[in-house]
Amino acid sequence: MVDHQDTVCFRTMRLRPKIRHTLKAYRSVGGYVQWERILREKPSPETLIEEIKLSALRGRGGAGFPTGLKWSFMPRNKPGQKYIVCNSDEGEPGTCKDRDIMRYNPHQLIEGMAIAGYCIGATVGYNYIRGEFYEPIDRFEEALLEAYQAGLLGKDLQGSGIDFDLYTHLGAGAYICGEETALLESLEGKKGQPRFKPPFPAQAGLYGKPTTINNTESLASVPVILEKGGQWFLEQGRPNNGGPKLFSVTGHVNKPCNVEVPLGTPFRDLLALAGGVSGGRRLKAVIPGGSSVPVVPGEVMMETDMDYDSIAKAGSMLGSGAVIIMAEGTCMVKVLANLAHFYAHESCGQCTPCREGTGWLERVLERILHGQGRPSDLDLLDNVAGRIGGRTICALGDAAAMPVQSFLKHYRHEFEHLIEHGTPLVEAA
């Protein structure tokens, strides 16, 4: 685990639970020092963006795109309104970190958004929070009120001539709105159906204006990067994989948890932090980055480190940092059927390969699971998955296809056994 003086997004976690989300608590760990310095000294946004680039902060929502580079795409000096949008539509199965940032450290997100707005030339920001997050929404709204009252948000802040207004936008239950252009559609009061790119949001985003969308954890990392320096942040992780990162370790572990550890931490150490596999069982499989990424056999994971590049070498992706642990005895057909149901339910219906294909995947997996599979079904699954990937506007189609291909690659015998005998090879989870 990160020593408490080196924590980033969980900087307030060591404070008393009753007060750690307040402005006073956040100030006690150095909060808003960077934002007030910016208001006072008005440093050039370029130097701040260079610092973020140096830190090698990569997007924490799942795609891992370098945050500093994303900010540099904004036409900062072009006249007209620009927007910074935070993606708190956390819904990737296995991921529950942004919820805790908003519950325990909401001010750091506010400060990160204000700094981001300054860097990209945006005077208005929206935090898009999923509608089910009643408690985090209340916490964030309370923090907004405190920040406004303290003169940290609003117009002509502390006499600097700098404006920054920040608002909460409420979702209403749609996984697809975590896709950044679907999120923008939703912010405009429409169905959350992703937009075709280009134009990218930096050219035409919210209301057709230049917009940057970042994940909650990415934005909440920003104040600490500016405080301690990009080089410091980079050194907490590995080259090209800067910083500590929040991991949500869930599934068959003794102590499911969110932990902040340096990128590059060995998986076996992370597993130990979560109390090891529950019931003293053997580790069977791991989905290392949220439900959309390929599954990795347990023995491979035990030799892998938790950073973007190492996990890519192991054949999967770090994604959102949601590490889903499966113990021996888990029926992989059942797990895949669960994932297929999720993507079929959450497909927005815009692109035919995804809308129809996810339904096919779900139905074929259901019939295999219920002992009615046909010998040709595995080829059918492979075929359908192959026809979704790369043929849709957004990545939800790929997210539905990738698990299918990886489960069939590593656990094909379980599917074959179920088709042949009508009963699972292993006891159900």
């Binding site: 509608g131 209403a172 009061g189 599934g251 999720f342 339910h345």
Partner: protein
């Protein structure tokens, strides 16, 4: 997906002070104030959520039409939103909503057994409402609280690491 950069605003021939209730209008106005003046429709989701809560947990076509008129939107644009997002109900529901997360971490944590238990013990399957009208049971996709699996959302509150006894207690406490 749309290529428009301006909303398809439609001004309805209606006196807005007759729509919904004064309290709801004030609440909706608070949300409208967050967005550019020409983008009132950005407030459609919170507006529908507020109206639904005020109407006992579900939306009627008349209520959706009133939201459309209040926000200068075509009715169909409101229907599109109301049918797209999982938190809106377009049929009558029980006094409370019990939403059991069924996604992978909660499944590994025993969500399925929880649903089977509610069906066996209380005679309510997902999508159904109890005979006394007390609650509607729903299966929900990932609620984003996976470290507390299995998670159950009851109205606006998350319940964590819910056991069979736990869900029985939750149900017995509802009015």
């Amino acid at each position: 997906m749309s290529f428009r950069t301006a909303p398809l605003a439609v001004v309805h021939d209606v006196d807005k002070s007759t729509l919904l209730t004064p309290e709801l209008r004030a609440e909706i106005d608070r949300h409208v104030g967050k967005y550019p003046p020409e983008w009132k429709q950005s407030a459609v989701m919170p507006a529908l959520t507020l109206v639904q809560e005020h109407n006992g947990g579900w939306l009627t076509q008349d209520l959706m039409d009133q939201v459309a008129a209040y926000l200068d939107m075509p009715e169909v644009a409101v229907y599109e939103v109301a049918t797209f997002y999982a938190m809106y109900d377009l049929e009558p529901v029980g006094r409370h909503k019990i939403c059991v997360c069924n996604s992978i971490s909660c499944m590994l944590g025993g969500a399925e057994a929880l649903l089977e238990h509610v069906e066996a013990r209380h005679g309510v399957a997902p999508g159904e409402t109890s005979k006394d009208g007390k609650f509607t049971l729903k299966e929900f996709e990932c609620l984003g609280a996976c470290r507390h699996a299995p998670v159950v959302m009851v109205d606006q509150e998350y319940h964590e690491c819910v056991t069979r006894d736990g869900i029985d207690k939750i149900i017995s406490k509802l009015d």
